[in-house]
Symmetry: C2
Subunit: 340 residues, 2 copies
Amino acid sequence: MLKVSVLGAGYMGSAITFPLSHNGIPVNLWGTWLDGNIIDSCRKGYHPKLKKALPDSVHFYNSEDLLPCVEDADLIIIAVTSEGFLSVYKKLLECSNKSPLLITLTKGFAQDNGEVKRLSETAQRLFKERFPCEEVLWVSVGGPVKAVELSNKVPTVTVFGINNQKIKDVIGLFATDYYRVSLTDDVIGVELASAFKNVYAIALGISNSIYQSLDKGHCDNLNAFLFNQAANEMALIIEAGGGRRDTVFDLAGIGDLYVTSQSGRNRKFGDYIGRGVSPKNAYKMMLEEGEVAEGYNTLSKGMIYLRQLGKGLLDELPLFQILYRTVFEERDFSEELKAL
Amino acid sequence: MLKVSVLGAGYMGSAITFPLSHNGIPVNLWGTWLDGNIIDSCRKGYHPKLKKALPDSVHFYNSEDLLPCVEDADLIIIAVTSEGFLSVYKKLLECSNKSPLLITLTKGFAQDNGEVKRLSETAQRLFKERFPCEEVLWVSVGGPVKAVELSNKVPTVTVFGINNQKIKDVIGLFATDYYRVSLTDDVIGVELASAFKNVYAIALGISNSIYQSLDKGHCDNLNAFLFNQAANEMALIIEAGGGRRDTVFDLAGIGDLYVTSQSGRNRKFGDYIGRGVSPKNAYKMMLEEGEVAEGYNTLSKGMIYLRQLGKGLLDELPLFQILYRTVFEERDFSEELKAL
């Protein structure tokens, strides 16, 4: 039987244990140095974020026990934050005795030799340094999945971006009646869509709370405009980054953007900003509650990434620029929007 | 100055008077035989659906006064239900002394010589019968606009599908700081997207109320899947109908689908079905409250329209078929969905 380890005991890392255990696969779940309380609580039968017990077949590992968690793993699922990704990943490679199949739920960018790169780019380069004779087998996971709903067995369809057709069979480990996996070979498209949708969801949060505070009721017209603008800017980004436009107009793009803009951490981060909290404080407040607004980091690293892709691109991304100015230059979102 | 008349005093017909009056354009607003109470109330300074007074520059006409309302109109905006469209439209042509520019907010299909046709197709044919020497100048309006929000001056962007570049200047009559108009020459795409999004919004209503009643909380994962499936089926429909795929992945498609699936009458119709009300009764109950679930009619006429477009097409539209079976054959939506 395949040995499966999951790194990161937050929402997604923990939720993914449900379909695996449904399929009879035992899982080693490792908590980062920030997940200590979660692991302790899980051992007592309660995941504090998912608000339920994880499946019985899950074995828990504290942050100091990465080696026993992963040394013989065939398949490793990485579900830490983008900020923590590289440090965890480097430790993982040191601990691995054999080259594992890597599946990442983490989305974002890494600082790599003075450039900002997609996480999978950097990760694959590091993999080849560690296992020079092995093929990298890599999956970037995207698509509309709220972890709590997955753990509640709400019907869910996800997208696996795979870099090698050999990996196709891996979906059999995950697929259940409530969790379906669709495949694409557009790893870049899935990865960029997953990362940037977190940025654009902030916009819908900001506008919502601005209009609520103005007592004007809903602003679905404006949010629909923002949603569409976001999707079309993401299409330009992904084409420029080497992915396929079609990936955006599918589950990994508009599907994921839909779910993320309904609720979730990045939307909440936007809500705070719309209510007048400074972006820096909003990020901090959420961090103190154990919530990471990934879009904040992706907005900052993403700006560098987009600049690297070429000067003209940013001109075609007015909403991205407005978000950047709102979050990092504390400009007024509504005022900025008028120019759009 | 242009003489502008609006036919239909429901949500959209009434809301469109706000940007026009903002631009100093007086409007004749005519109520259908179902709008008698609305017109009476508007004269007293209160629109019962928008829950506010309409602008002072609006003149009100009862259903028996169509002739004085439209006889000299240069520009006529049609905002009746798709069910009422043809009977109103035929009367309009009889009453018109000169050939008007036609802007329609109505979306759907008409029975025309034994076939089901897009409303604009039939309307343009009838126009040529009445004004054989005149050009048809036609605008189909689409895009994400909830009428109440427009009347609240929430920033809104709409799409005008125009059949002739001569009409371009008409947008100057409508555009304000809170209402922007984008143009496309894909009338078919706008019209079909506007019609079918009402059908697909029913799906999100059904799934939401099913999951609420199961006490499973939100089902955003499932709704994101349905949203994406809807967008991609709409793209196939519009290509088959002679429109452009790109129109779907823009304001008139995903933008409008977004706003419609957040709330609105078709979503509400789906909510009733998900709670176990028979579709026929749900439609009736809403009608008694003065609300027309357009998607119900579009689903039935749309099925005939799609069959006319060719046999293979329906096979590629599993969600449309599931909705049809749920609404007209009272099959169980969740059960049907499993096969998708």
